[in-house]
Amino acid sequence: MKQLVSAPVLFVGAGIFLVTGLLLAFLYAPIDASTMGYSQKIFFYHAPIAETALVAFGVAFVAAILYLRSQDPRWDRLGVVSVRLGLVFSLLVMATGMIWGKAAWGTWWDWEPRLTTFLLVCFLYVAYFVLRSVVEEEQRRATFAAVFSIIAFIDVPITFFATRFLPAGMHPTVITMGGTGMPGSMFVSFFISMIGMTLLLVALIRRDLAVEELKDRVADLKNSIGG
């Protein structure tokens, strides 16, 4: 991949956006009028992380399709890296979601559609790594992982839809068909945090890819000297 922007620049950019988003969230966006009050501020972290996790799995999905078409190990590497980061972000979603849940609803866990979906997402993508760990042959591992990654990503919106069937969700529906339902100042802060988080993901993917590439090269070199 071409180096359009170097990784450090991306990290710094992500940092700037995230800090700005956070400052705006506390100084500019209004304190939530409902009972949540200050605890609602975690939204400016929680939602961008969730969005970023999904973006990461989306990247893995695209990489999987490209891998199956080309059998090029580079796409497999991109797949692993994005799934791993997506999983980390998903765990963060669960953690921040639970903290928020405790503050807003008085309970750490609730079988609410979005939280439940992310729980299943975590299971799914942990399974992805279990699957990878039990296939020795490299090409086969990459192929199976790609197939699973495609199936899993298709399943995510379906799971979300299905969990919505269950009655009595108490998650605030912030973004609906009719608009965001947020005051402008809140939306700006949220949007900046979202850009920051996405940039962070890109930067992390970039860095992890480099690491994986080095690992592969080390393995190749080791093989070539008969180690």
Binding site: L131, V135, V147, A152, D155, A162
Partner: protein, 221 residues
């Protein structure tokens, strides 16, 4: 077709799987009875839908593992792969075979569970019930066959299948359990079930297409 016939004939000759599955279902019923009868004269009608689908999914796990373990152990799969048929045909035949297997389990399980656990008659809702069951079955079998093919080609084989199968099948479980519970407990009309039926239909369509697209890769070279 021939593959399906082969699996069926094999099954009819040996009978081992069917008999153990029927026993499995009956034992599951007994276990559920003791697990859920926490109170004297407790009415389990509301739980029957859930019990049934849990039984089906776990029975399916066993069935899926076996349907490919045989192929693998006797190296039949290699023979199948050499056949001049589309890989997708193999997928469809295997899915159909698993579907037959699941249906046989259901033919046994549904009356028994109904007899022991459901306190009201749902004969009037039999048609929607069968539709829900069939749609959910297709989803379970299609996805299960695809994933079983993958897991059979790995080192841990049958250990892997539940880990990759269960999280993916949750949507079907939610929809099917919801629908059957409505039917058992409240006598839902078709209108109440429509959303779930459409959902199951959509699930089946999506995963049949997804399996169609990826099965070539899943079955390996």
């Amino acid at each position: 077709m021939a593959i399906l016939r082969k699996d069926l004939i094999r099954e009819l000759r040996t009978r081992e799987m069917i008999i153990s599955m029927i026993l499995f279902v009956l034992l599951a019923m007994v276990i559920f009875h003791y697990a859920f009868s926490v109170k004297e004269d407790a009415d389990l009608t509301y739980f029957t839908g859930g019990m049934l689908w849990v039984t089906f999914i776990f029975a399916m796990l066993l069935g899926l593992n076996r349907s490919f373990a045989q192929e693998k152990d006797e190296r039949c799969l290699d023979g199948l792969l050499l056949c001049p048929v589309d890989r997708v045909t193999i997928f469809l035949a295997k899915t159909a075979g698993n579907l037959v297997f699941l249906l046989i389990i259901q033919v046994v399980a549904v009356p028994v569970f109904t007899l022991f656990f459901v306190s009201r008659s749902y004969v009037g809702d039999l048609v929607p019930f069968l539709i829900v069951m069939l749609l959910a079955d297709v989803g379970i079998c299609a996805l299960g066959t695809l994933l079983a093919t993958i897991s059979m080609n790995t080192r841990s084989r049958d250990l892997l299948l539940p880990i990759i199968f269960l999280p993916l099948i949750v949507p079907v479980l939610i929809a099917a359990t919801g629908a059957t519970t409505l039917i058992f407990a409240e006598g839902a009309g078709f209108g109440d079930l429509l959303a779930r039926v459409l959902f199951l239909l959509g699930f089946d369509a999506v995963f049949l297409v997804a399996a169609y697209g990826t099965y070539d890769f899943a079955i390996g070279e």
